[in-house]
């Protein structure tokens, strides 16, 4: 049949047809791949920050209930005489250890009770030997400052059935025997902070994000000059997509008083924007600019509200940033398809100065670790040395920090 014959001819000739595609197809695939990776990185970072906050909530809500009532420490009179171990320690020695005790009704006491170091400060002002009349067993409490351990001596009672219960009494009574005062503060002088900073992204119109040199208040650089030249004389910017700036880094804090700490560290920041020109004769350009900065934040943090389970603080810092390099790319599109691209790397001269004001919540998790989240505003002070970026377009940005602190 004619129908079958025609189909067969066409199928034979075209089904195995091989034509080499233009080289720019592969280049376009790579551009899309890089953009996708970056977007994925941001999403994962944002999800991790949210997860940190969510994970910390149950800890905050349940930690009060985890301490048995009878382990609450109260000031009582010391029973018994100091022993030789205790005498070696100076009177009014200040020792730091956790207020929580690793004992509960469900777990038998051991001879050696570890007191995990956490966030509360305890001040011990007494001798450390206690004997309890209740069990008629002399116990010795040794307090080792370095290891933060309380060691209860072997009981004289050799009856295994009663020994466990006696030890429980011994420990609780022994701790009652200490004159203990909770300072309710953070005993750790040093803190190491690892943080991620997020700021909003968005799309701006040409009016909001004027790329003319005289309006954007920045000094000329190779990329900017090129873009300004092309956009000012030939093209009009239709829109600019501001990618969420990404910052991460670390800070070291030092408590000068119980509530006030000074902090400094290093921050790495990437700023990125894509500006698209209006389409003319089915052709348009995209200008992608990525700026990389290393920053030195110096600031103060003050704990305004301190509890066992959380601390609310305010922080104020100044950030000095030095641009490492600018990567500038120009994508040339025709009929919505990438035809060619150019890439150049340029140095960034001068410094960027900004101030950051934030309110934060710190939630202790385990050992010396805590999670924190901060929200605030960062103000970027314009100067003519910096290439045009989102900070010069809009100097005031809301910021969010999330991360982990380690206290030592």
């Amino acid at each position: 049949m004619a129908k079958d014959r025609l189909e067969k001819i066409i199928s034979d000739k075209l089904s195995g047809l091989q034509v080499n595609p233009p080289a720019y197809v592969w280049e376009g695939i790579m551009v899309a791949r890089k953009r996708k990776i970056r977007l994925l990185y941001f999403r994962v970072s944002a999800a991790a920050a949210v997860l940190l906050v969510l994970v910390s909530l149950p800890f905050m809500l349940t930690r009060h209930d985890s301490l048995p009532e009878k382990n609450t420490l109260t000031n009582t009179e010391i029973v018994g005489q100091p022993d030789s171990h205790a005498k070696s320690l100076p009177q009014d020695a200040e020792l730091s250890y956790n207020a929580s005790i690793n004992t509960s009704d469900s777990e038998p006491l051991t001879h050696k009770t570890q007191l995990a170091v956490q966030s509360n400060r305890l001040l011990v002002r007494s001798d450390f030997a206690v004997s309890t009349e209740k069990t008629e067993v002399e116990s010795t409490l040794e307090l080792t400052e370095i290891q933060h351990e309380v060691i209860i001596a072997e009981s004289a009672d050799t009856d295994p059935a009663t020994q466990l219960q006696q030890k429980k009494y011994q420990e609780i009574d022994a701790l009652k025997g200490l004159e203990i005062e909770s300072a309710g503060g953070n005993s750790k002088k040093f803190q190491l902070t690892l943080a991620y900073q997020g700021t909003p992204s968005g799309s701006m119109s040409g009016e909001d994000f004027n790329l003319l040199t005289n309006a954007s208040k920045f000094g000329p650089d190779p990329f900017q000059s090129s873009m300004a030249y092309r956009t000012s004389f030939y093209k009009e910017i239709e829109s600019t997509d501001v990618r969420p700036p990404m910052s991460f880094g670390f800070k070291l804090s030092y408590y000068t008083t119980d509530r006030l700490s000074i902090e400094s560290g290093l921050l790495f920041t990437e700023l990125s924007t894509i500006s698209k020109t209006l389409e003319m004769n089915s052709a348009y350009h995209e200008f992608e600019q990525s700026l990389y900065y290393i920053g030195l934040p110096v600031g103060l943090r003050y704990d305004i509200f301190k509890r066992k389970t959380f601390t609310v603080y305010v922080a104020q810092s100044v950030v000095f940033e030095k641009g490492v390099r600018a990567i500038n790319k120009v994508y040339n599109y025709e009929k919505s398809f990438l035809k060619s691209s150019e890439k150049s790397v340029a140095p960034i001269n001068g410094f960027q100065l900004s101030t950051l004001s934030a309110v934060g919540l710190d939630i202790p998790m385990f050992a010396g670790f805590s999670f924190f989240g901060e929200g605030g505003f960062q103000v970027f002070y314009l100067n003519h040395t910096q290439p045009f970026n989102i900070r010069s377009a809009k100097p005031l940005w809301p910021v969010m920090h999330a991360g982990v602190r380690f206290k030592k």
Partner: protein
Amino acid sequence: MDEKQLLKGCLRGDVKAQKRLYEMFAPKMFGVCLRYAPDHDIAADYLQESFIRVFKHLGQFRGEGSLEGWIRRVVVNTSLEKLRRNDVLKNTSDLDMVTHFEYDVEQVDEKINAAELLQLIQSMPQGFRTVFNLYAIEGYTHQEIGKMLNISEGTSKSQFARARQWLMQRLEKS
């Protein structure tokens, strides 16, 4: 590097492996795109979008059937999606509106080469071209084409008949 190693490399995000895979299949797939697209540039656009999807969803390839067949399906589906966005299948007509003609095609095979035939296919109205490609070259049934393009089986048949008629008229003229 065999196909399995290539696949593993691509799944790891190895750019060299991805380029190798692209070089291996891009010419054939560009041939497919050229049949669906009205011109060379748009075909390149289809190919680029298709390979972005291939690398994104390569983990879904379970080794059932050939890798080439799987990539080809991605390319065809991407091309159809692009066509759907432009609403090219909107102006379709029913089977009863089509007049049937019989043509002598014996000489077509000798007189026309692949490049000329491709050019002819590309100049077809998009609705005709899409159905003709899917039925005559890809081998889908009209029922399957109806589902793929969200049109009725009858519409697919009529589009094919009209496409064939259109094609024969051009072939006779040439």
